[in-house]
């Protein structure tokens, strides 16, 4: 059995291609995929940054053909080509490389933002969906469980996810150094662009409940406000809003700063000099530089936040080296288990062959002897015990050797010595592999 992975991600395909292929519900396409003989097990991962299928197959060539047509026909749905062939965006990994890729994806080492937490949840959802529609069998079950364990190890043994890297998250992290919690805090966001949207999302997930959006065109602010359950205001309400605001984030166009010293001083007086955390990510700047010198005002601009973000990204890059080592270790462990599966048919065949011989010899002997029921049982037990003891050492050795690349020679020798190839082989691995798991025997 072979593992094959085919897919595309943020590095291999542009957003419009990823958008075209992404699916909300992975179950129908998975069912379609499993209907084909070439695929024994499959898991489909579909996020905004990647669409990948991990599959188990007996024939890599046939599976490759089927999976590529699955991407172009079933997922792409015959959409008009954008000039580049879909095939150009697809990558393929086999066996060891495929295992490694799955472990790297779950550990967020292959993500756009290295160390992000979302991908693990998305992989768990994809795996759960595959289990529910019986698309994932013993081998992919094991691979995904192993991937989740690896991700957990990476997060606990490295500092890869410790520091935020997006400007909005860095701002929230800084706010935590000023405010103990956000339960009773109020945020005012000035502007209604993408940065404000990202900041709104970050503030909401940090737990801040009271948010006001102020913009030159209140209609645009209202759109955002509806989506994030905030209140919308015009810029004329700024003096009042600022006096109530603990966190102010501004990103609005204009020739002159709208957050003047006078305005902030008045707000401070009205709020009895309680601290204001002011994040100015507008270019040109929205706050007069002198505002930063006021007592109880903490002013940070885009350069300050970018510097922290860069430091954090650098830390993540350094930590990713350690994370790769964890992944390599876990991949080796899984590979050992997966390789050892090839010993299963030989071991099963050998056991059944020896059992057949024992059975027939015992039957012959018992037919000649007159024995009570308990004496017969003793003979059965005795012969079974002898067979098990004789087989124990060679089978253990076979299992051990099967985990190594050179182990194939041992398996072939065993088949020749015991004449296993002279008879039809016992049913092979895959879906029965869980019960034949070499570690379980």
């Amino acid at each position: 059995m072979k593992i094959i992975l085919i897919g595309l991600n943020h590095r291999s395909a542009p957003l419009e291609v990823r958008e075209r292929l992404a699916v909300d519900d992975v179950v129908p396409p998975l069912r379609k995929l499993l209907a084909s003989d070439e695929i024994d097990e499959a898991v489909l991962i579909s996020t905004c940054n990647r669409v990948e299928v991990v599959a188990l197959t007996r024939s890599v060539e046939a599976a490759r053909f089927r999976l590529r047509s699955f991407f172009s026909r079933d997922l792409d749905g015959g959409s008009p080509d954008d000039g580049s062939r879909l095939d150009d965006h697809l990558y393929e990994y086999n066996d060891v490389e495929a295992m490694r890729h799955v472990l790297r994806v779950s550990s967020a080492l292959d993500s756009m933002v290295v160390g992000e937490a979302q991908i693990l949840g998305q992989m768990k959802d994809a795996y759960r969906a595959a289990v529910e529609c019986n698309a994932s069998g013993p081998i992919l079950n094991r691979l995904f469980q192993h991937a989740f364990t690896t991700a957990k190890r990476v997060r606990s043994e490295t500092r890869i996810a410790e520091r935020p890297v997006s400007v909005a998250r860095v701002a929230v992290d800084l706010a935590r150094q000023i405010f103990e919690d956000f339960v009773d805090k109020r945020a005012v966001l000035i502007g209604a662009g993408e940065m404000i949207e990202a900041a709104l999302s970050a503030l909401r997930s940090a737990g801040i409940e009271s948010v006001a959006v102020a913009n030159r065109t209140p209609e645009r602010a209202a759109e955002l406000a509806v989506r994030f359950e905030a209140t919308a205001h015009g810029l004329d309400e700024l003096p009042r809003l600022l006096s109530e605001a603990d966190v102010v984030l501004s990103c609005i166009g204009g020739d002159r700063p709208i957050l003047t010293c006078e305005l902030i001083e008045a707000a401070l007086r009205r709020r009895q000099h309680r601290p204001i955390f002011l994040i100015d990510i507008g270019v040109p700047r929205n706050a007069e530089p002198e505002v930063g010198a006021l007592d109880n005002v903490f002013l940070y601009d885009i350069d300050d936040l970018s510097a922290v973000s860069d430091q954090n990204a650098e830390q993540r890059r350094r930590e990713s080296v350690r994370a790769e080592a964890v992944v390599a270790e876990e991949q080796q462990r899984f590979d050992g288990w997966f390789t050892a599966l090839r010993a299963v048919p030989t071991i099963k065949h050998l056991r059944s062959r020896v059992e057949e011989i024992r059975r027939s010899e015992v039957d012959k002997a018992l037919a000649k002897l007159e024995m009570s029921e308990s004496e017969r049982e003793q003979v059965e037990s005795l012969t079974r015990s002898i067979v098990n003891k004789i087989l124990h050492a060679p089978l253990s050795r076979l299992r051990r050797e099967a985990e190594r690349e050179e182990g194939m020679a041992y398996l072939e020798t065993a088949r020749v010595l015991f004449g296993l190839d002279d008879e039809p082989e016992a049913p092979s691995a895959s879906r029965t592999a869980a019960s034949d798991d070499p570690e379980n025997e």
Partner: protein, 266 residues
């Protein structure tokens, strides 16, 4: 027995301080919560220590400076433990635990024999003990207020200068420090006031007049006036958090030298 319990208390406070510091450095909020439990265990041991003093010497010798310092540490720890969850100040354990340890350790170096104190003590009656109890409690809380103010100023400066704003060098938030400063001041000042009043009754009982003009009385009265100004500025004039922190630090430095320093040098 008292000495062993005192050493045990210092050891528990020290462990709490180490665990809290490690929790801050990692950062690991769970360790901060665990150190809170350790601080609680230390406070319980500390309580047993004062209980043992009571058994050995009829009443704890609070008029002795080392015992009073140890008592202040105990009151400070209990005050903080009561506030920690309610006022969302768990992260401040990293300040309180080391303060408690240092106070108990220093006091332990000169801890007197309780039975000897009992024999030599002056006849001050219940006013004497009420004065020391209330004044020590007030000092403990104003001490916490001063230290919170000091850390507020350090953290404020760091955030203003935008240096080392990554998560590695992280003290408790400015809000937590300011809240602790404010609550400790609000409770500490009335206790100090009651301490001054009961002190006057004690003087009246032993010397026959309310005011005898001793340096201790004069400096305590000035310190009380200083704190009266600090409290008025903070609560009546809506002083900003940074100025309040400066006032708390200045107030405590003055009070420390006026009361403890004077006792020590005398």
């Amino acid at each position: 027995m008292v000495s062993q319990l005192h050493q045990l208390t210092a050891a528990i406070y020290l462990i709490a301080a180490i665990v809290a510091s490690v929790g801050l450095a990692l950062p690991a909020p769970r360790l901060a919560r665990f150190s809170l439990l350790l601080l609680g265990a230390g406070a319980v041991a500390h309580g047993f220590c004062f209980g043992a003093m009571h058994v050995d010497g009829a009443t704890p010798a609070l008029t002795e400076l080392p015992v009073a310092v140890s008592f202040m540490a105990w009151i400070g720890a209990i005050f903080y433990l009561v506030l920690a969850q309610r006022a969302r100040l768990v992260s401040l354990v990293v300040l309180v635990a080391p303060m408690a340890f240092v106070s108990v350790f220093v006091a332990g170096l000169r801890l007197p024999d309780p039975s000897a104190i009992e024999a030599a003590s002056t006849p001050g009656g219940s006013w004497e003990h009420a004065h020391v109890l209330l004044a020590s409690s007030g000092l403990a809380l104003l001490g916490i207020s001063g230290v919170a103010g000091m850390f507020y100023l350090i953290e404020h400066r760091r955030l203003k200068s935008k240096r080392r704003i990554g998560p590695r060098f992280r003290l408790p938030s400015l809000e937590a420090l300011d809240r602790l400063n404010s609550i400790a001041l609000a409770i500490g000042f009335p206790l100090l006031t009651l301490g001054v009043v009961t002190g006057m009754f004690w003087v009246e009982k032993t010397h026959g007049r309310v005011w005898d003009g001793s340096p201790h009385e004069v400096w305590s009265a000035i310190a009380w006036l200083v704190y009266a100004v600090v409290v008025t500025l903070r609560f009546a004039h809506g002083q900003g958090a940074r100025q309040a922190a400066v006032s708390a630090v200045c107030g405590f430095v003055f009070l420390f030298f006026a009361v403890i320093g004077l006792e020590f040098f005398a």
